[in-house]
């Protein structure tokens, strides 16, 4: 009796990789260069072929990272609540609510609280002051102005002197110091979808976003696959790759069987970390010298192989074609054995 699994399964030595590559590559040629326009942060997120290349190349960070933050049920229904959380999440810098000026003569930095901007962002003078405390313990306060005085520090190797250069450096840091929000998340927009409100923001910081009590930690998603791998692990990264590729294809209204995409994701993640497809990843790790030499950087591979006296065991497809043997796929690997009747 044939089991369901047997009838559905792939036959041994079926060339799944080639079929997968062709099944994704062919519709890939039809991808339009047309970009779709969105309001807000998702506007410049690459779609189509550029995005596909980005995923498959396993880039450290996407060109435009985007994070979708879903809220706990009690918050998600209300627009005002969601907007409040969005404000809390989006990072706000000192320079957004205050004017920062450095005095190179006195070696001080003065931060002037801008009441109008502060009110608009509901940041009080006290919160601003709190944010500046990381730079110096004693802050001189004069009305709306906070002055940071730099003091020389004593280190093991000697005295670290305060110079005009270090003031300049610090003042830049002060400007970009976080007053509120999650680092790495910016431009939060409240959107509606699936009968609830959620926040879409630029950048990605899953851990930071989850710290907010209103955020549902089980429903935070980013298009930054490397970060998903870092936070949730390799299985989640695999699923993210599948979802991202599928989204690209769906957006162009191209249909590719999900199993082909899953195979790609599996190939990229099976070793425990994300590997790119190409010379620096999968193809560069083929066993055979000839197979690698046939793909890219022929001379490098041949020279290395000769330097280390490598042996070509002819297990791949390309290698066997070069040599002129049957290839170990399909009919090339299956052997028919007949039992003779006695």
């Amino acid at each position: 009796m044939k089991s369901k699994k047997q009838s559905v399964g792939i036959t041994p030595y079926e060339a799944v990789g080639v079929v997968c590559a062709q099944s994704i590559g062919e519709p890939g040629t039809q991808m339009t260069m047309r970009t779709f326009h969105y309001a807000g942060v998702a506007e410049h997120v690459p779609t189509g072929l550029p995005r596909l290349i980005e995923i498959v190349d396993a880039k450290k960070e996407p060109k435009k990272p985007v994070i979708d933050i879903h809220l706990k049920k009690s918050y998600a229904k209300s627009r005002t609540e969601s907007e409040r959380v969005a404000k809390e999440v989006a990072s706000l810098f000192v320079e957004d609510v205050a004017d920062v000026a450095d005095d190179l003569e006195k070696l001080t930095i003065s931060v002037t609280y801008n009441e109008r901007d502060g009110k608009a962002q509901s940041i009080t003078f006290a919160t601003l002051k709190k944010a500046l405390q990381q730079f110096s313990e004693d802050l001189k306060i004069n009305g709306n102005e906070i002055t940071i005085k730099l003091t020389s520090k004593k280190t093991k190797t000697g005295e670290k002197k305060v110079t005009a250069k270090s003031v300049r450096k610090l003042s830049q840091k002060v400007r970009e110091a976080l007053v509120r929000g999650v680092p790495g998340v910016y431009k939060a927009v409240v959107l509606r979808g699936n009968d609830e409100y959620f926040i879409r923001a630029g950048g990605s910081n899953i851990v930071g976003a989850c710290e907010n009590p209103a955020v549902d930690p089980s429903r935070v998603y980013t298009n930054n696959i490397k970060e998903i791998e870092r936070v949730y692990g390799i299985e989640a990264a695999r699923n993210a790759i599948v979802k991202e590729i599928k989204d690209v294809m769906d957006m162009q209204r191209l249909y590719v069987d999900i199993r082909h995409i899953m195979l790609i994701a599996d190939a990229m993640t099976y070793c425990g970390s994300i590997k790119s497809i190409g010379r620096h990843g999968l193809s560069g790790e083929k066993i055979g010298v000839l197979g690698r030499a046939a793909f890219e950087e022929t001379i490098k591979h041949l020279i290395n192989a000769s330097a280390f006296a490598e042996e070509e065991s002819l297990v791949g497809v390309t290698e066997n074609i070069i040599v002129g043997q049957t290839v170990p796929v399909g009919t090339g690997k299956i052997k028919l054995v007949m039992k003779r009747k006695r």
Partner: protein, 609 residues
């Protein structure tokens, strides 16, 4: 250096080089133009005033594309009715009009300063120029097309591209010319529906096409997807028949050492003699006789060359002349008749022989035809006239074109030409299809109804196979069709065996070398995806560059067969345990190249199990 005295001064440029300044560039430009129109300046000078940059450009260089316009003053054309009348009486010519400043040529730069009216009735005081004729905006190539204003623009572009590929009479002195390749149509016709520009260019003298009776219907699936069914009897009567002329040439070359090629009848002593059979058409002088029918690799001009190396001293001490065969022969797969022979002198004073071969190219399945509306198609069937639909008066179409070719391409002009061609035939006149001003559909309808035809150009047809009346009326008319340069007989190519390359032992490439068709990387991928392992091996090894090489089982290097001692031997380790191994010649080459890089590849053999 030229400096502006005031900031508002205009910089004057002559052919892009700054030459001076002027306080008021605009009025200077106008005055210069006035001078040009009064013939005080050459009419080849163009003036352009750039208001934004406050620059005046005077252009006199070569290579500017210019086109003529009628000059307009105060909303009135300078080409007045009086002048037109004098023109009609042949008192004036075009050149007079240019001299009189009625017509002037503008280049791309000066055109920027103008407002050009397309027709005279839209003139306003702002206009500076008027098109000579509204159809002029199409230019020369598109201006020849009928009813371009009824077609979609991509189809016009395609029609222009295809008109250049049409076969006709390329030059009226073709019979005295020895072009490498040339086609001449047997019975070219001028189109029934033509434009004013066509007439002005006098293209009827070099027509490239024929008026065909076209039925717009299907024919047993033989005209699907832009195929065309043609009437075989019409083809037999000479429809779209073309003669191809091809010139072969050879020269008596001089070699260092005072030796020379000789055009003669090669004798059997010559090295590489091809056998008496090959030279059967040659005259005593070694040159082929006119009007002999040649084919295959027949020799056209017998020629012998001196030996490549100066050795071969015979036993008797005398230098023996061993000549090489270097005759000129017809390319394989071609045939025809020798049209004419020309014996002359080459550029370096050598004797030069040119042979012109003529072959008739009758339209056949696979040849390309096109109307002047970007409607191209390939002949799908040469149907017998008896089997084709006919009208009650016995008219059988020359071509059957599929109606699916029309709607999505929006070439209404094609339909209008069909109707116009029909009306022209019946009315006995040529129709004008100039853009924006040609004969109208209503005029055609009037002619058709007056002569008792259906006003829409539809006909009741009878099926040629069954004799039954076809239940729908079918649109039929006369359309000017062109035969395009792409003839199957010049492209057809097959190979089952043939020559291989010297270096790689792989099949040669290209039709001219009787080559194979490349089974490329992507095709290979498809077979891998299919799992056809044996098929890949057959394509890439058996049918390509398979060799058997000897491999030493001891050291793994390629071994050789020692013919003197008649045994296999490894030249590296002297071992005689050698096995024959089947591999691709390309792989053997790879091993050789790696060896030349001082890397020693070893082949470790395993028993097949």
């Amino acid at each position: 250096m030229v400096k502006r005295k005031k900031k508002t001064d205009t910089a004057i440029f002559l052919n892009g080089r700054i030459v001076g300044t002027h306080p008021d560039g605009k009025s200077l430009a106008n005055r210069l133009r006035e001078r040009r129109r009064m013939n005080e300046l050459s009419n080849q000078v163009n003036i352009h005033y750039n208001e934004k940059l406050n620059e005046l450009h005077i252009l006199t260089d070569k290579g500017r594309v210019r086109r003529p316009y009628v000059v307009v003053e105060n909303g009135k054309s300078r080409l007045t009715p009086e002048i037109l009348a004098r023109l009609k009486n042949n008192e004036l010519t075009w050149h007079h009009l240019v001299k009189m400043g009625i017509i002037e040529y503008l280049d791309a730069q000066e055109e920027e300063d103008t407002l050009i009216a397309i027709s005279e009735n839209e003139l306003t005081p702002e206009h500076t120029h008027l098109e000579v004729h509204s159809a002029n905006i199409f230019g020369i190539v598109a201006g020849v097309l009928p009813y371009p204003e009824h077609n979609s623009s991509p189809r016009i572009t395609m029609a222009c591209a295809m008109a250049k590929q049409s076969l006709g009479v390329y030059s009226t002195n073709f019979n005295n010319r020895y072009d490498t390749r040339g086609y001449v149509m047997y019975y070219p016709q001028e189109p029934l529906v033509q434009t004013k520009i066509y007439k002005a260019l006098n293209l009827r003298e070099k027509a490239a096409g024929q008026n065909c009776i076209v039925a717009l219907t299907s024919y047993h699936g033989y005209n699907m997807a832009d195929a065309i069914v043609v009437n075989r009897s019409a083809v037999d009567r000479g429809l779209h028949r073309v003669a191809m002329f091809k010139t072969y040439e050879t020269e008596e070359r001089m070699y260092p050492g005072g030796q020379k090629d000789k055009i003669e009848l090669p004798t059997p002593e010559v090295v590489g003699f091809r056998g008496e059979e090959a030279y059967r058409y040659l005259d005593e002088d070694g040159i082929i006789i006119s009007e002999s029918e040649v084919g295959g690799k027949d020799v056209l001009v017998g020629k012998t060359s001196p030996p490549r190396f100066l050795e071969e001293i015979s036993v008797f001490g005398a230098v023996e002349e061993k000549k090489r065969e270097s005759s000129l022969s017809l390319k394989s797969g071609e045939k025809g008749k020798v049209d004419s022979v020309l014996v002359t002198e080459g550029p370096s004073g050598n004797r030069l022989v040119k042979i012109r071969i003529r072959s008739v190219k009758t339209p056949e399945v696979g040849d390309k035809l096109a109307s002047r509306h970007g409607q191209k198609g390939v002949i799908g069937l040469c149907a017998k006239q008896e089997d084709m639909p006919f009208t009650s008066s016995g008219i059988v179409p020359d071509l059957v074109v599929n109606p699916h070719a029309i709607p999505s391409r929006m070439t209404a002009g094609h339909l209008l030409e069909t109707l116009g061609g029909k009306a022209g035939c019946i009315g006995g006149m040529l129709m004008d299809a100039t853009a924006f001003s040609g004969n109208t559909e209503d005029e055609f309808k009037a002619i058709l109804t007056k002569n008792g035809f259906n006003e829409h150009g539809e006909e009741i047809l009878y099926d040629g196979l069954t004799g039954r009346k076809i239940t729908v009326k079918i649109f039929m008319g006369a359309v000017y069709y062109q035969r395009l340069h792409h003839l199957v007989s010049n492209k057809m190519h097959v190979r089952s065996r043939g020559p291989v390359q010297l270096l790689t032992h792989q099949p040669t490439e290209g039709r001219a070398r009787e080559g194979g068709l490349r089974f490329g990387e992507m095709e290979r991928d498809c077979l891998i995806g299919y799992g056809g392992s044996m098929l890949i091996k057959e394509r890439l090894l058996e049918e390509s560059d398979k060799t058997v090489q000897l491999v030493c089982t001891d050291c793994g290097s390629l071994a050789t067969h020692d013919h003197a001692r008649n045994r296999d031997m490894c030249p590296i380790c002297q071992s005689e345990t050698v096995e024959p191994v089947e591999m691709s010649y390309a792989f053997k080459l790879l091993l050789d190249e790696i060896k030349s890089l001082c890397i020693f590849p070893r082949i470790m053999l395993k028993k097949k199990g």
